[in-house]
Symmetry: C2
Subunit: 793 residues, 2 copies
């Protein structure tokens, strides 16, 4: 084990003048941070502080702020010294005041928000807007220049940081990790990202674990284990930790500077050995543990209770209002003046200490943190060339995802130099039948390999770790820095990242409204191994509710596609990979299944998003007796099988078949940009005929989308209703009454005028269901007429 | 650092006879596991194997199975030797065949499923049902005796294990953790659970990390780091790891037996030192790393490709059917016969090797794994005694959660000896204003403490770690072993456990249908810091969609309550804590807010779940002009404020006020047990009058619940539509058009007959909105008329 660097190797890294400079810069950032929390006016304390200068509602979080200001100042120094291309990631919750203060000090804030000018008037506005109604929040938000990570929901900073550096060999992400955040599951596994980083073709993450000891009101776990345990843990995760511990500013400046110099030197050495000497051993990258008091430099004691270094420093430490003791105001003024603002700012309120890097080297201006600036269109193969040949509907069988896998293979091939497209997933790329991608790439893996491994290489376009959180975080980081990607997952388990996609969708919605933010590539999901195909898993693997979750997000952001066959999937995938600033959810099958549409027909159908299938309908030119609608591959199959039963037994019945690819077509155009007008909707679904809707997901979702349509009361939806076990695909539909026999009965129930003919057919359907149950119980597979059914009407 | 135990200290722990016995038992379990995957008939190989004996669909997972059989056999030995009270937790995915085989061997399987008898006929059924349509799944499922953990969605075994041992001082949970599962975030942080375990009052978890090297098709991270790193990692997590590595059965039996003996001895020593000698140092509990080949004892090579010890052993390694090479059948027969079934089973198919413990000591029969057997009712204080005094509606102000905190305090007090109630949450119990609980208990914390800590103690009823996954997993484990609990969380971030509650709801649904499983206490959520009160957080903290997610689960299982005030919250909380086998979601406010109902009125209102508030309505005896419905505390306040505006300006207007506490009352009674009949619904909402519904959550949820009601087309719902920032509570309602002024306009828009009076009032409302914006932009708080509004009609 290497010698600990708990005590810095030297106290002479910085000259006294450098110490003074960096300390002044830190004081300035701290001053601006406290100002944001408290001051409505008198921003430079040109006059004695009075209650009139204080905000009425004191909101915000001080605890993490001075430590982040300290880190930011030191990163500035090392960026300039080494000419680093560095992005700052603020992991701890509520570090907003720090990053706002620093980007203001370095000038980027005023560049993107000219009204927040670098003078006293701008300072006043800067202070007022913080935690003020309609202003900026107390965590680093999309409004903050230099940020691609929001400290709202905790746990994703390290995954985001790694996503940012993949395929960015010159980039360094300094990732500040809160010790509260470090308790979350996603963060706890994100440390293992170092087994997936290639030192040649990727950049590097410098994690800075900020041990300030407390969360809201509890201590943190990592601050309350022994130094030896913490060091073992971080080494066990594969890192070389450097410790900077203390609270005395001058010593801490020297220690931090020395440690940062050492860490950067080590990073450069590792990169050089890998890049020029071909050393492929997985490196132990450096990281820093900064142990400093929570609320560092803040009031030591408030109302007789210790504050600095305790959980009490988490939010606004000192309450100041007309109803608090007058000495609180005095204490606040002393606190603010302890940073000596008169020495820091000139008469006009401009900063006197020059420490920040210049231009794009400023972390607030780094273009990687506004990825849309760097985003390039993908080179796209023509998706039509991967078409399944469909001369007759329902005859050819193909795996939808296997087909799109060949398309994705060529997307990877065409965008490999420099690479700006990757596929992420939790060890399911093969299971999801995207194996064609491994003809041209590998899974990136920097840990040990063994003889019988497949498709592992030091660099590759597929990222697989058994953590949906990690995959999602990596992908988000990759997209936010201006690249493209796809998440492939089992449908049920994508719920694991529900809260992450929430936050990303909120980020997209907010950044749409920020002029200087450029659109980024969409977050694309390919969900397969769906609820209907759980032959060897069962009930735990059955949940189609991710789409319910996603469509609660802002309509401008979310898109949901359920292509019924391979050619439709090709068309949809092509569209999604070209799109910008959306969350696109694609749900598709992986098992061989009947194919319905030729490539031309599929392209047209997907462009419209919803349509009548004339070849399956027999209502040409007149109103149908019933509409049979379907959305999703299995529901489409069962609907068409039901239609063929109906047309065989009741040829005079006029059935219209409607297929929905783009789910949000169902919603009103006033609610979603893809929504149909009432006239268009009624032209498809009629205003008064029964609609039997076979839906991939929970049936209520269709009702939620169509409740205000004219024909709402005739809409009968079948879908997944939480009935399932380990069984055949067809039996799954039977358990949920979405199978062809139930669908036929559903039609018959709504057409009482059919009389005896209807009753007879209904009885036949019931008999079929019994026959099915008997057959499957004996044979363990579906009846031949189910397995070998083909469309023929 | 202690000496590694990678090589077992002795090879003489077991006598040759003991080795033979344990090996025979293991062979028997392996034989039964392979039989489950392949055999439809000829279960004891009494005749040469033919294709007729083989299942047509070969499904299941072999990879993890032999390792788990090995562990189970060794646990049996040590249970008997030490008379341990032990539960087995099968963390790896798809360990079903192993646990089914072992519980069959020990007799528990046939006891709960008499048709699966302990003879050849039973064996045949045991084999057939596995991965057969409608049979049992390939992961350990609720149907498996001895299990409280399903290996479907991975990552929660260790949290479940800790939840099971809290307040169970005699219990040992042997928790097998897959190395795939170990990559998930939740598992990666669950190792830290040892900082929250009290060696005196809690039992102990013995983690057994099963390094079999592969997931579906990738190697695992933990199997591909150095031994030194792995050991550092586990020591860094605070454990003492013992390593058992190899593949040669006899050596492995000796190593495992010696290691288990050592681990159990260490556990006993730690417990004794804590319990009798008062040693309160946090112990380094032992754990085991078992490194054995994936698919151990399976075919070495299949079709020329290595199988045992590679990812290819993950599922069914050898395909055997009419279309596969004939030698596959031979190879399968050799594989099966390699376990020498003739030596293991007698003529009747009964096992000859006696190793299993007896009675409840069998892990399949341990009552802790069927927690309903042990469940006792809580001792409940009378919730009415905590009532807020409400003589007039809307005058008194109180914090709803603070009020219920006092009730919870006494629930804790009354159920502390022995303790069977705990509160879980991610460091938010104080923030959520449940501080009263700390009058009688503490946060359980076994890591270091410091001078300024609050409410930390070696044992306590509150469990807080900044990981919603961990809290949820602990609570589930606690409930599944027959105790009671509550999860308190910020509303937005409960989405972090969406997928976990999915799996728990599925467990509840399935176990309802298993006669030998007894009901357990409900999983109760108290969600606060809601979307409407984000004065100091903002957009990231705004998501009321957990209820949308939950109600997709089976209607028999889920309940959702939105009490409008403190007395209603008391009534609802009392009800939920008494209930069984549900997922109860309670959404409530924490900030001081107007109180509406006296305790008697609240109890009646909550019992009915929905009702007209006559004191707020003026439609007595006649049909109203409009119904103003509300659900949730903030929507209730805004609705009542709107009603008072309407009644002031338009006294002749007949308004009916409806409040909904039990959200699923809105659904039809045919869809949910709480649902109203159409007649009852229409009596409240009318069949044709405008309904303005102010809803706490996403508005579409109300439409989804009411789409098929008579008055659907007149239902106008206001709710959260993803508009938000850091602002006042009232401004949040304005941004989402749920505020009193918009609600008044909504009513007016639907009553055109009001003519000029209506137009005048509408203009007034628009003016008010402008006035509000101007005021808040200047003052940073709401207008006095908003802040000081009280009901007075």
């Amino acid at each position: 084990m290497e010698t600990l660097t708990r005590h810095p190797p030297t106290n002479t890294t910085l000259s006294p003048q450098e110490v003074r400079l960096i300390n002044a810069y830190w004081r300035a950032a701290n001053y601006l941070s406290v100002g944001q929390m408290y001051l409505l006016d008198n921003p430079l304390l040109r006059e004695p502080l009075t209650l009139a200068h204080i905000k009425r509602m004191l909101l915000g979080h001080w605890g993490t702020t001075p430590g982040q200001n300290f880190i930011y100042a030191h990163l500035n120094r090392v960026i300039k010294k080494e000419d680093l291309n560095m992005v700052y990631m603020s992991g701890p919750g509520h570090g907003g005041p720090a990053v706002v203060a620093n980007t203001y000090l370095e000038g980027t804030y005023s560049e993107v928000y000219p009204r927040i000018s670098p003078d006293e008037a701008g300072l006043k506005k800067l202070f007022k807007q913080f935690s003020f109604p309609g202003g900026i929040s107390s965590h680093v938000s999309p409004q903050t220049p230099g940020s691609i990570h929001e400290g709202g929901e905790l746990g994703y900073s390290l995954s985001h940081a790694f996503g940012a550096v993949f395929d960015n060999p010159d980039l360094v992400v300094a990732c500040v990790i809160g010790d509260g955040e470090a308790e979350t599951g996603p963060l706890a596994t994100a440390w293992h990202s170092n087994k997936f980083l290639n030192p040649v073709s990727d950049g590097v993450v410098l994690p800075i674990l900020h041990l300030n000891g407390y969360k809201i009101s509890n201590p943190t776990v990592l601050a309350r284990i022994t130094h030896e345990e913490l060091e073992q843990l971080l080494r066990g995760y594969g890192w070389t930790p450097y410790f900077v511990e203390g609270h005395e500013p001058e010593l801490m400046h020297q220690a931090m500077a020395a440690t940062l110099d050492a860490a950067i030197a080590q990073i450069k050495q590792i990169q050089q050995e890998a890049r020029t000497e071909g050393n492929t051993t997985r490196p132990r990258w450096p990281m820093i543990v900064l142990k400093s008091p929570k609320g560092w430099t803040g009031p030591k004691v408030i109302d007789g209770l210790p504050n600095e270094g305790t959980f009490r420093a988490h939010q606004v430490p000192l309450s100041v209002s007309a109803t608090t003791p007058p000495e609180h105001l005095t204490q606040l003024e002393s606190w603010l003046r302890s940073y000596k603002p008169d020495e820091l700012f000139d008469e006009q309120g401009r900063l006197l200490a020059e420490l920040a890097p210049q231009g794009d080297r400023r972390m607030g201006a780094n273009p990687h943190a506004n990825g849309g600036l760097l985003l390039k269109d993908l080179h796209m193969p023509d998706f039509r060339e991967y078409a399944v040949d469909v001369s007759l509907p329902g005859v050819a069988q193909a795996s939808d995802t296997q087909t799109v896998g060949r398309f994705l293979r060529d997307v990877i091939k065409l965008n490999n130099q420099p690479r700006n497209f990757r596929i992420f997933g939790p060890d399911e790329t093969l299971s999801n039948k995207l194996e064609a991608v491994f003809e041209v790439t590998n899974r990136q893996w920097d840990a040990e390999t063994a003889e019988n491994d497949q498709f592992l290489a030091p660099t590759g376009s597929v990222m697989e770790m058994l953590s949906e959180h990690q995959c999602e975080g990596w992908l988000e980081g990759y997209l936010l820095t201006g690249r493209h990607g796809l998440f492939n997952s089992y449908e049920a388990f994508i719920h694991i990242v529900d809260s992450m996609v929430n936050q990303h969708a909120k980020w997209l919605k907010t950044t749409r409204e920020i002029p200087w933010r450029r659109p980024i590539a969409s977050l694309n999901y390919l969900l397969t191994s769906t609820v209907w195909r759980q032959d060897h898993n069962g009930f735990t693997h059955q949940d189609p509710g991710f789409i319910d979750h996603v469509i609660n997000k802002k309509a401008e952001i979310v898109r949901v596609y359920l292509p019924p066959d391979a050619n439709c999937l090709l068309s949809v995938m092509d569209h999604c990979l070209r799109s910008r600033h959306y969350v696109n959810v694609i749900v598709a099958g992986k098992h061989p299944a009947p194919q319905w549409l030729s490539m031309d027909a599929a392209t047209k159908h997907c462009t419209e998003g919803i349509g009548i299938w004339p070849w399956a309908s027999n209502d040409q030119g007149i109103e149908p007796d019933a509409v049979m609608a379907c959305c999703g591959d299995v529901p489409t199959l069962e609907t068409l099988a039901a239609v063929s039963i109906l047309r065989t037994h009741l040829p005079e019945l006029k059935i219209r078949v409607v297929n929905v690819v783009d789910l949000l077509k169902l919603e009103r155009h006033t609610e979603h940009p893809h929504g149909l007008s009432d006239a268009d909707y009624d032209a498809i679904f009629t205003r008064n005929k029964p609609v039997i809707f076979a839906f991939h997901g929970y049936p209520w979702l269709v009702h939620r989308l169509t409740y205000n349509r004219a024909n709402n009361s005739n809409m009968h939806v079948r879908g997944y209703k939480e009935e399932g076990t380990i069984t055949t695909a067809f039996d799954m539909t039977v358990l949920n009454e979405l199978d062809r026999f139930h669908l036929v009965m559903d039609v018959l129930d709504r057409l009482p005028h059919l009389g005896n003919t209807g009753s007879y057919l209904k009885q036949l359907m019931k008999d079929k269901l019994i026959e099915h149950k008997l057959y499957i119980n004996t044979n363990g597979e579906d009846m031949p007429e189910i397995r070998h059914w083909t469309w023929n009407a």
